[in-house]
Every structure is written in structure tokens, then in C-alpha cells.
């Protein structure tokens, strides 16, 4: 029964008569908490060209917002399409708690561009563990761009003396002017800690 409904809505989302009908179908899928609904939404997001339908899909994925969505959204970070990647970051950062586990994995992804996106998702989220993960990235990641993004976020989110110390220590890790500049501005922002 549920499957029939999902496939009907999926069909309507793909090839509904009007744009409104397609938006509606995408939004309706968001009130079905089932893996199949998430799958059809994600698949459509990958090929969808209409901006508003895309937006409806992202909204629905955020609304379902469970661990399964988090896992599928993490996959979007590997996409070639900038819109899809950003949608992945947005979904992960907004859904919060259910995304923690997968984000923890993603900050160890072999591709550094994906790691940067994972750091962005963490930094934009309201997840409590963010600070701990950012510190870890700053101390352990061996790519300077990934570390630099983590430093930028930590300088905004960190409220403890340790946060500043982590950044200060990391200054020695890379010598490029870009990195040194990032560290310097972060420490300025954290002057009161």
C-alpha cells in the first residue's frame, strides 16, 4: 500500500502535468518516513533541473531527517554537481544529531574535497560534538585546506581556552602564507579566550 503510494508520488514528482503538481508530490513524499521515499527523492535530486522542485526535495529530505537521510546526503558530497553537493551539506547540517555518525566518517574520507564539505556541514550544524571533531581535524588531518576550514569554524564556535590552544599549536603544521593568515585571523577572533 505504502509502496504504491510512494511510486505514485515518485511518478508525479518526475512527470506531473504542472510544476505545482511536481512540487506537491515532492513535498508529500516528505511526510512518509520510509527508506523508499528517501531513495526516490535522492534519485530525483540528482537529475532534477527545476530549481523549485529541487528545493521541495531538499525540504522533504530535511523533514524526514533520520539517519538514513544522513547517509544518503553524505553520498551527495561526492557529486560532480555543485548544487547537489551543497544540498548535501545543507541537509546534513540542518538535521543535526542523526548526522553525527556519518559526519564522523566523512571527515576521514580519502578525498579532501569531500572532507572540506564534511567540515562545512559540521561547522554549520548545531551538533554539540562539532567542536570536538573540529579540534580533531585541526590536529590530525594532513591537508592544509581541510585544516584551514576547520580552523575558521572553530574560531567562530569555540568558547574555551583549549580551542585557541589547538589553533595556536596547529600554526606549525603548514607554512604557506594562506594557512598562516588563516591561523592569524582565527587567533584574533579568539583573543578574549
Amino acid at each position: 500500500m505504502l509502496e504504491v503510494k510512494i511510486s505514485e508520488l515518485a511518478e508525479q514528482m518526475k512527470s506531473g502535468k504542472s510544476k505545482n503538481e511536481r512540487i506537491q508530490a515532492a513535498l508529500d513524499l516528505g511526510s512518509i518516513k520510509a527508506k523508499e521515499a528517501v531513495d526516490v527523492l535522492v534519485e530525483q535530486l540528482l537529475v532534477e533541473e527545476d530549481e523549485v522542485v529541487r528545493e521541495a526535495i531538499v525540504t522533504s529530505l530535511i523533514k524526514i531527517g533520520d539517519e538514513y537521510v544522513a547517509n544518503r546526503a553524505a553520498g551527495l558530497l561526492e557529486s560532480e554537481d555543485a548544487y547537489v553537493r551543497n544540498a548535501g551539506v545543507e541537509i546534513l547540517s540542518i538535521i543535526g544529531e542523526p548526522a553525527i555518525e556519518i559526519l564522523q566518517k566523512m571527515i576521514n574520507h580519502p578525498d579532501r574535497d569531500v572532507r572540506i564539505l564534511a567540515v562545512n556541514a559540521l561547522g554549520e550544524s548545531h551538533i554539540r560534538e562539532t567542536i570536538r571533531y573540529l579540534r580533531r581535524v585541526i590536529m590530525e588531518d594532513d591537508d592544509e585546506n581541510v585544516v584551514a576550514s576547520a580552523i575558521e569554524y572553530l574560531s567562530e564556535l569555540g568558547f574555551e581556552k583549549e580551542d585557541k590552544e589547538v589553533v595556536m599549536k596547529a600554526a606549525k603544521r603548514f607554512s604557506s602564507p594562506f594557512f598562516q593568515y588563516t591561523v592569524k585571523s582565527a587567533i584574533e577572533k579568539m583573543a578574549d579566550l
Binding site: 512540487i23 513535498l27 530549481e51 523549485v52 528545493e55 525540504t59 530535511i62 531527517g65
Partner: protein, 267 residues
């Protein structure tokens, strides 16, 4: 109310309304809920909450929503936005069509939709063949009832230009009553912005005002409402948010139009 009880109640209200109470609002929620617990003859939160969850009539949920929403409003709020609506947007619409529909979504006690009706009456009076109406909705049934009565305090009308106060209000003791000609132009009804079925019945609006409403919502609900508004607007229709709110931060689907008097979002 324990922390867990607060979270349970908060999530329940969130699912029903899109309104999200953060931890720091616990005290506010608690005092309003305590009033409801007393009013319904329960003696603790748990029994009240169970009863609320299983109340099929939905009456108590409505009462609770009425008690929890923030309804602060007044006539002619954010003058520059209204000036933009009156002097820039309305003339543009009138050039293209002869029947105009405006919606005040989250209208509270009616000050906003009546303000819009006064403006439309002023601007469109005497333009032959043009008809217009204002729809005004809110989730809170109590404010809708007050709006229909249309009786306002001095405080509420303090920003109404003197000339309009004389033309569109009748003094009643300490109060001001909106005149019947304006009253009959505004259709009030209860509507929850998160209710998909109800929202889909809303269509063909040229301008939507949804000011100081979405500030109480979380990200996901705001986006959802923005999409419903998109569906409800005519092609090229406009949407006004409160002055501190930004649609671009909610969703990229609307274009930002810069007018002389204000920035407005357009479909």
C-alpha cells in the same frame, strides 16, 4: 515540568505547528501550560499531556496553541513596506489585471489585513472595474474572533494617519471600531501554515504578507511554508516578510526585487 517533559511537549507542538521552542523558552512554555493544566482540571503534566495527545476533537490542542502563540501586532506596522505595496506594487498589478487578491498569513488580531484593506481602498477607489479582496488567516482561533469584531485600543491604532483614523474608524468609548465597509472586504479564517491540505486550497494570490510569523519556526518548516506560498502565488506574485526576516536565508526560489521603498520577494 522536567526537561524530558518539556522536550516531549515541544516536539509535539513542533510537529503540529512548525513553531519551535528552544530550551531558553522553557519558562514561557511552562507557565502557559500550567494554566492549561489547571483550566482542564488535571493535576500534573503527565496526565494532561496524555489527555491532550488522545483528545480526538483537537479542542485542547487548539486551546494550547492559542495560549502559546505570540500575537503582538499593530496597524501600519513597517510603514516603508506598506508604502512600497501602495505606491509601487499595487499600480503595477492594476496595469495587468482587474481583480486583486491579497493574503495576510499570520494575521493575529487583524491589524495587518485591515491596514492592507485601508490602503487598497485608498489606492483603488474610483478605478473602475477593479475588484479586490483580502484573505486573513491565523492558527489561533481566539485572535481570529477578535479580528472579526474589529475593536481596537488606542495603542493599536497609534500609527494610523489621523485622516485615515477619521475615515475608517468609529470611536467607541476608549476603543476604535473599524468601519463596516472595510470589514466586509476582509475574509478571516483559521489556517495552520503547516497544514498541507489547507495550504493547497490557497491559490491565486497576487501578494502575500507573512510578517513576523516564520521567526518562530525552525529551518525545515520555514522552507516548507515558503514552498506552499510559492504554489499559492500567481506568476510574478510578491511576498513580504518582516523587516528582520530574509527569504534568501530560507530558500533561493524567490527573486529579490529592489523597489524605491523596500526590498520584496517575487515569484
Amino acid at each position: 515540568m522536567t526537561a524530558e517533559e518539556f522536550i516531549k511537549l515541544r516536539d509535539f507542538i513542533y510537529r503540529k505547528t512548525g513553531i519551535y521552542f528552544e530550551e531558553r523558552k522553557k519558562y514561557y512554555v511552562e507557565s502557559r501550560v500550567e494554566d492549561r493544566i489547571k483550566a482542564t482540571g488535571h493535576d500534573n503534566f503527565r496526565s494532561y499531556f496524555t489527555w491532550l495527545r488522545f483528545d480526538v476533537t483537537g479542542k485542547e490542542l487548539q486551546e494550547l496553541i492559542n495560549a502559546l502563540t505570540v500575537n503582538e501586532t499593530y496597524f501600519f506596522r513597517e510603514y516603508y513596506q506598506l508604502k512600497c505595496f501602495a505606491e509601487e506594487i499595487l499600480p503595477e498589478i492594476v496595469e495587468k489585471k482587474s481583480s486583486i487578491r491579497v493574503w495576510s498569513a499570520g494575521c493575529s488580531t487583524g491589524e495587518e489585513p485591515y491596514t492592507l484593506a485601508i490602503i487598497m481602498e485608498e489606492m483603488l477607489e474610483g478605478i473602475s472595474g477593479v475588484t479586490w479582496e483580502v484573505h486573513a488567516t491565523d492558527i489561533n482561533t481566539e485572535v481570529i474572533e477578535k479580528a472579526e469584531v474589529g475593536l481596537y485600543s488606542q495603542r493599536s491604532v497609534r500609527l494610523v494617519p489621523e485622516e485615515y483614523k477619521m475615515r475608517y474608524f468609529v470611536a467607541k468609548g476608549e476603543f476604535y471600531e473599524i468601519v463596516p465597509e472595510v470589514k466586509k472586504k476582509v475574509k478571516f479564517y483559521q489556517l495552520n501554515l503547516m497544514d498541507a491540505t489547507a495550504m493547497r486550497k490557497m491559490s491565486g494570490f497576487d501578494v502575500i504578507f507573512c510578517r513576523n510569523v516564520l521567526i518562530y519556526f525552525d529551518d525545515a518548516s520555514r522552507r516548507q511554508v515558503a514552498l506552499y506560498f510559492y504554489e499559492a502565488l500567481t506568476e510574478g506574485g510578491y511576498i513580504f516578510l518582516g523587516h528582520s526576516e530574509s527569504m534568501s536565508r530560507i530558500t533561493p526560489i524567490f527573486k529579490l526585487r529592489r523597489f524605491k521603498n523596500a526590498f520584496v520577494y517575487q515569484k
